[in-house]
Symmetry: C2
Subunit: 485 residues, 2 copies
């Protein structure tokens, strides 16, 4: 219990702060007079009271958190916030089950953006804004998680970044350090959010749609206010703006911070992850567009390039907006897009998957292994940015990848056992664990996750969280070692 | 060229010896008077002359092989033998293409046992015996490769076994060491082969069928003399005998050697791989049988257990015999069987996949990583048999697994690009790289690889060899580092 109570105290504080997030949908509910004002106010009051109660009853137990408490905190904070965030959904939709509501909110907060809701086009504006705000807040959470928390906890080789966090917080205490990092990077996040909103509104979207889709783009969350997602607008300018901001969101926010502070665009080029993301995405766009065009899906190459670029960037960067039913393309295309979602996004971005830095370390490690076979005596450590990576970091990275892909295999088997077909099961697991959103088959781009059974829905909810917390941080909480004195 | 010629000299010697393998089908052709005698004699003469020519023209270049030459030797020996072994097929079947003939022989020699031939039940007995003998000889080659060559070359962490090879060959020269190991283990292999043949004949098979299926079982090759594979006999006793000998073949032959020499059955129990193989297979058989029975595929549990046991052992141990169209079972079952093929067989066995020792190291490594997260300061090296494994071996194992699964992903994408559907492409790649044989879909258990295009056939031939040579040994030959001075 001496581990639980201090964590509960922090959770209480975070929940109290979180309750202010309801102000935005409350404002929308009043402005649009969509009849949900009372529901959102009730939800806000419950959250605030719950948070304050938790905070004050555990106040005596407060102490500075240790790294080990961090695992419990990050695992429980997402679950708690998602549970509380279901309140307005349950109040507004009488027939919605807690299973579905929790799926929707955890999908929002993990920036997965998979949905079980239909008829979004006619949902109350406040409800849509709330869903998108969850995306956006989730993105904030992830930036802090990735840039400040996971490196300190040493998850999957991310201790690499321990010394690289920007700002003056080296050797600072855990909570102070997180707060300082958060402030610096959130400023960047908010700045891009404002820019994207203005541009989307200029391109023809309503303010509500502009705000909602900006929230979903910057967090790489991928919720939409339309059942047909971004395809509903059929607006190339909107698609182009979203592509640009999704690319921005898929880069390390610490890199953005350094580039902006130093007013030096070359900062981006020096980030090997940025080079990796851009190279892989641009090559894939042109290549897949050529392939899809040659296979006759679209009349001309420019049209193919437009549609492939938007959907490939969106899925490959784990955003999950859709503008075409890309499952009707030759099957190589959607599978490649799903594969990219696993490996492309930068660490410190709002994207999911194993992250570009680990992809690059893996590629270098494979090359090193081949060289070592030819020259057994050679000393050729894997290097990142010029400095060699210690063996234990390489092992941590490889071990992480292994756990990640084993999770994909085992969870796919679990969904198959529950009655789903192979393609849909694999698609649901990859869509969830990468936090991309859309999968394949019954959970594919032309459909959503509403067709799943309750059990399958919970498996997907768990998988989203597993992916978001980089597998290890969640898995460790289920080990006996963790709970042993 | 100073690397090529000494290797060519050894290849010439091996090819000359290999030509004597034709004596068996020649004897069968004469005994059954099946009209193929002249074809096999011609093939034997061509092999012998080719081998002797190669040997004598490069005799001046002979020198003791270095470990690095080993990669070139193991990559080229399979290709050369398979090419030469096509001769009788091409002579007997006028319409057979070299593509198909090479697929059949490389499939035999890599002990994959996938086939492009139909109407096997009415093929000349000498042809069937030749196919099965290729399985058996391939099995011999793999035992030596796994127990003597790969550990020395340090492929994928197998330097672990460097000091553990049985017999007096430590620090001996490369060729002498291989020869000594080979003799000891081949004796074991031949002994089991004789025992299995006698038992199968007692169980009701003809001598030809008994010999052929023994060859295929001991090598985990999985060729059959029937289009319907072992299902054609519908004989539970035959199935039981084959299960026992497939389990034997899936263990390390060095362990068999030690157990027999020491007359101590506990030797098996001390081998952690044996425990792993038996545990995983037995648990899977009972579990999958229960599942298949509950789903209503078979009337009663004993029948389900019989059919699941045979097909699961066969596919899970990468043998590839089939007695039922298991693709009609609920999809979890065939997928699980295909998954087992990747991870189950022991090192030093005739089976394929990543090998049980690497599976166990992976599992321990994952557990270690989780422990390290809770206790960052702990020193808990991965141990095998009580002694800690050096970090560089763990890295080599993890790197190998990564290359293996990346190969699966990339080759599946390649087959999809060539027009195959996703399930069939994945099935063909997994069936080939694990050397199991049957895949899924158009290359599934009720069908064979005859439906593939020439390009797809070559991709599968390459994949079989890639799996058989543990990916790295083949991949390294394609790197620029290898050919640089
Ligand atoms: K997403
Ligand atoms: K096989």
């Amino acid at each position: 219990m001496d581990a639980l109570l201090p964590v509960a105290n922090v959770l209480g504080r975070l929940l109290s702060i979180f309750s202010f997030a309801y102000l935005m949908p409350i404002a929308a509910a009043i402005y649009y007079n969509d009849g949900t004002t009372a529901d959102f106010v009730a939800a806000m009051v419950i959250s605030l009271l719950g948070g304050l109660t938790l905070y004050f009853t555990t106040r005596a137990n407060y102490r500075e958190l240790k790294p080990r408490d961090g695992f419990l905190l990050v695992s429980s904070v997402w679950v708690l916030m998602a549970s509380i965030a279901t309140i307005p959904l349950l109040l507004v939709y009488d027939t919605m089950s807690f299973t579905d509501a929790f799926f929707e909110t955890i999908s929002g907060l993990t920036t997965t953006g998979a949905t079980v809701m239909t008829n979004l086009d006619h949902a109350p504006p406040a409800i849509n804004l709330w869903r998108h705000e969850l995306n956006w807040l989730g993105g904030m959470g992830i930036i802090v998680l990735a840039v400040a928390v996971l490196p300190m906890l040493g998850v999957g080789g991310m201790q690499l970044y321990k010394a690289e966090t920007p700002g003056p917080m080296k050797d600072a205490k855990l909570t102070a350090r997180i707060a300082d990092t958060a402030k610096a990077l959130w400023l960047v996040y908010v700045g891009f959010t404002i820019a994207c909103t203005l541009l989307l509104q200029q391109a023809g979207l309503s303010w509500l749609d502009a705000i909602c889709h900006t929230f979903a783009a910057m967090s790489l969350g991928g919720f939409s206010t339309r059942d047909a997602s971004v395809g509903a607008f059929d607006n190339p300018q909107v698609e182009f703006i979203l592509i640009v901001f999704m690319m921005i969101a898929a880069m390390n926010f610490a890199t953005h911070f350094l580039a902006i502070r130093g007013r030096d665009l070359r900062t981006y080029w020096r980030d090997m992850e940025v080079r990796g993301v851009i190279g892989l995405i641009v090559a894939s766009c042109f290549g897949v567009a050529l392939y899809v065009w040659l296979e006759g899906t679209y009349e001309d190459y420019p049209t193919a390039l437009r549609h492939v670029s938007f959907n490939l960037v969106s899925i490959g960067l784990s955003s999950g907006f859709v503008s075409q039913d890309y499952e009707k393309w030759p099957v190589f295309a959607p599978l490649w897009m799903m594969f990219l979602a696993n490996i492309t996004c930068s660490s410190g971005s709002t994207g999911g998957g194993i992250k570009m830095i680990r992809t690059l370390i893996l590629a270098k490690q494979a090359n090193r292994e081949l060289t070592r076979l030819v020259h057994p005596a050679i000393v050729n450590p894997v290097k990142v940015g010029g400095s060699p990576i210690p063996n234990n970091v390489v092992i941590a990275v490889l071990g992480f990848i292994f756990l990640y892909f084993m999770s994909v295999v085992m969870l796919t088997f679990l969904l198959i056992l529950s009655g789903l077909d192979f393609i849909s099961a694999l698609g649901a697991v990859v869509g969830s664990i990468t936090n991309a959103g859309p999968g394949l088959g019954v959970v594919g781009p032309s459909s959503n996750y509403a067709g799943l059974t309750d059990f399958q829905t919970w498996v997907c909810s768990f998988t989203m969280l597993l992916g978001r917390l980089e597998v290890l941080s969640l898995a460790v909480v289920f080990t006996p070692q963790f709970w042993r004195k």
